[in-house]
Amino acid sequence: MNTQTAAAGWRGDLRRLSRSASFDIGVVIVLFWVACALFGPHLVPYDPFADDLLNSLMPPSFAHWFGTDQLGRDVFSRVIVGARDILTVAPIATVLSTILGTALGLTMGYFGGVIDEALSRIVDAVLALPTVIVALLALTALGTSNITVMVVIAFSFAPVIARTVRSAVLAERGFDYVAAAELRRENTFYILFIEILPNVLPPILVEATVRLGYAIFTVATLSFIGFGIQPPSPDWGLSISSNYGLIGGGFWWTVVFDGAAIASLIIGINLIADGIEGLRHD
């Protein structure tokens, strides 16, 4: 492939994207949290795990911007470092689901017929259930760990991606370049992955971004109900879950900042997805 022209295309797309204010905001937010996840432990003023029992539940102050939690740990530091687990689990789950869903969607869309029919049934069955419910069932049976959470999310999101890819592939399947490839006796692998895949990448990219948002949503929700990321992680959903009983007592800072963190990250990702989606429809 001629990388130069392809790159030029990408650069052009990026330039157009960066003109969208909401896309820019999304990128800034997400990059901020990614930086927190990567370098958080080196950036924060306090060790997010270090207790200071005699200074617990202090309201936000100059020393502790976001106050302290019940063990006297610095909430600000915990919120910053709290990005780490969710930004590991959710993206890996998304990548897994994208790979799986793409392979599935390519197969369904390209071969059609009985294969498509059979796989579609499975896909529909999985899609009939909300992810959180499927995850609850699976995690109860398999036991909770970051790995199982990833796998469960990957499996329950793959059908959505498969469906997107399938319909994109069906459209591509109607294009004559596929017939042309068959007419030079390309093997199926080449047709699927070299001919068709590059052309369905944009919708996959959008769907994967949207899924990443949902993955974060789901991981946070699972953590909140106790089936996701496990203590002692400073994970946001987990922190909210263990602290929300305190808000009535006025200790709102133990919950509100974590909530804002989750909200901002998911909104950021969706702003990016929105931007890319808008680009495709221009």
Binding site: L57, Q230, P231, G245, G250
Partner: protein
């Protein structure tokens, strides 16, 4: 202290050997007044008698908060949804106990101060070697179905609980102590318990501590949940599984007429929603709240906190048969890094008693309080590590359950041992996973190098001494095997008099401090929170909540 010897002599008449021994103890001041009252109650000295003895000894029973409540009204309280069907035979969780305590009663009340108070039994006494205990039952007690409670009901109740084929949850408290057939009717209002082995604390086994041991009619229906026939101050009005229950005043109650017209109970899956509901004014009482959850309520004048001391605690076990904990000096060093007063203040907001690395918490009368309290001493800890050849520190994994403040406690331990070079990785699992199949090899609880396990309240330390620490103990996650310890415990359990119990206890405490297979750094209280103005609420550490004398 002025002792009225004349009065005392009168009172001593008819007392058996153990009772007189106890009285001797208190006279000699070997037994404190508080302990006297508590242990005296176990031996079956009635409250008037105890009061009399106390009076004779120059200290009176603390007067019961005598402010009389106003009758009427509906009390709404929330608690954790019962884990299973409401059946006294099978109930195994605080949620179920709370429901039980509304409508059913045991022979003996293990009161919040750990004293044994007569309920359906009027009095009790052991034989000389403590193998047979005779209970006199209260007369004219009616079940909610109108029948009188007699010895037949008591015998049936205990035979059911002690029958392995029925599989009652009470088996864990009764096995090795009371078998099926061991409960015998003497007359309609007298029952004898013939024990498998001598036991000086038997009344606790038929008290509210053994919460399954509520007296229900001999003919217990299969769908007990539909009727909930007991002798309690309230009768079932409506029960909806998972949702809640309501009870109404029992007009035929044997004791003082219950004050509230109705009790409305709402079940919650978790503590947070309960607390919020209390704050929003939707319920009046929540109970058994872990301290950390209730932090928001502690300083709030619109709420009233009832603190119930308990022997509930979190055991930190270290595998005595595995590195890096094979050397007891390492175990001791770790115990020395913990700042217990700080834990109690910070983690538990002062609502706990400091532990001394043995099950003997200060509140137990048999505890030898002369054994020195272990305090944080990093220098000594470092020396011990050096002596053990581990000055470079160690690495280990602390496996535990996600329950109450245990994860936070784990973090505190993780941080504390850093002082002596300990590098602990936390592995916090959900409860089911942690306990696994509860047999070695299939249970992180019993297999992990280091772990933290929650133990519920017990009125006496016997269970804590045996199952988790004796070499044949089924919950021995520290894999602690020490012949001397086993012998000491056997002696402790069999002894009927307080002084010899305390002597054994002292040795056990010293031994455990030296070996430190398990760290007991605190015993946490249970909190019951009520709306300000609610009075007369009695709560036990077991989960009972008694509202007969409560008023809004």
């Amino acid at each position: 202290m002025t002792i009225n010897h004349k009065l005392l002599d009168i009172l001593r008449r008819g007392r058996n050997e153990h009772e007189n021994h106890l009285i001797d103890g208190v006279v000699r001041e070997a037994v404190s007044r508080r302990e006297f009252l508590r242990y005296g109650s176990v031996l079956g000295l009635s409250a008037p008698l105890l009061g009399g003895i106390s009076g004779a000894l120059g200290f009176g029973l603390a007067p019961v908060a005598a402010r009389a409540g106003t009758p009427g009204g509906t009390i709404r309280f929330g608690h954790i949804v019962p884990a299973g069907a409401i059946n006294p035979v099978t109930i195994a969780d605080p949620g179920g106990v709370t429901i039980l305590s509304q409508f059913a009663e045991a022979l003996v009340l293990s009161a919040p101060d750990l004293s044994a108070v007569p309920l359906l039994a009027e009095s009790w006494a052991p034989n000389n070697d403590g193998t047979v205990w005779t209970f006199k039952l209260r007369q004219n007690v009616k079940f909610h179905n109108g029948k009188l409670m007699t010895a037949d009901d008591v015998v049936a109740t205990f035979d059911r609980l002690a029958d392995p084929a029925v599989g009652s949850n009470a088996l864990s408290a009764l096995s090795g102590m009371l078998s099926k057939g061991g409960t015998r009717k003497v007359d309609d209002y007298t029952v004898e318990f013939h024990l498998d082995a001598a036991n000086g604390n038997f009344p606790y086994a038929v008290s509210t501590d053994n919460y399954n041991a509520v007296i229900v009619p001999a003919e217990m229906p299969d769908d007990f949940e539909a009727t909930m026939i007991g002798t309690g101050p309230f009768k079932l009005e409506k029960y909806t599984p998972k949702v809640g229950a309501s009870f109404v005043r029992n007009p035929d109650y044997w004791g003082a007429a219950p004050l509230p017209d109705r009790i409305e109970i709402t079940f919650y899956d978790d503590y947070q929603p309960q607390i919020l509901a209390l704050q929003a004014g939707e319920i009046d009482i929540i109970q058994q709240v872990p301290v950390l959850q209730a932090v928001g309520l502690l300083a709030d004048p619109t709420f009233n906190i009832i603190t119930t001391p308990s022997s509930a605690h979190h055991q930190v076990h270290m595998r005595t048969d595995m590195e890096p904990f094979k050397d007891k000096r390492v175990r001791r060093a770790i115990a020395l890094t913990l700042d217990r007063p700080k834990f109690v203040q910070g983690l538990l907001r002062g609502k706990a008693q400091i532990g001394n690395d043995s099950p003997f918490m200060p509140a137990y009368p048999s505890t030898d309080s002369s054994v020195a309290q272990r305090e944080m001493n990093i220098a000594e800890a470092k020396q011990l590590m050096e002596a053990a050849g581990m000055a470079g520190g160690f690495k280990t994994t602390l496996t535990t359950e996600k329950y109450l403040e245990i994860p936070d406690y784990a973090v505190l331990i993780q941080n504390a041992v850093k002082e002596i070079g300990g590098d602990i990785t936390l592995n916090i699992m959900d409860q089911g996973a942690y306990y696994g199949d509860a047999v070695p090899g299939k249970s992180p609880w019993l297999d992990s190098e280091m772990g933290i396990t929650d133990y519920g309240h017990r009125g006496v330390p016997n269970v804590f001494l045996q199952a988790p620490l004796s070499s044949t103990g089924t919950w021995n996650s520290a894999h602690f095997a020490n012949a001397e310890y086993d012998t000491l415990v056997k002696g402790y359990i069999a002894s009927l008099d307080l002084e010899s119990q305390r002597a054994s206890a002292g040795k056990i405490q010293t031994l455990l401090l030296d070996e430190t297979p398990v760290i007991f750094s605190y015993f946490y209280d249970f909190l019951t929170v009520t709306k300000a103005g609610v009075t007369g609420v009695v709560a036990t550490a077991m989960g009972h909540i008694m509202l007969a004398q409560a008023s809004l």
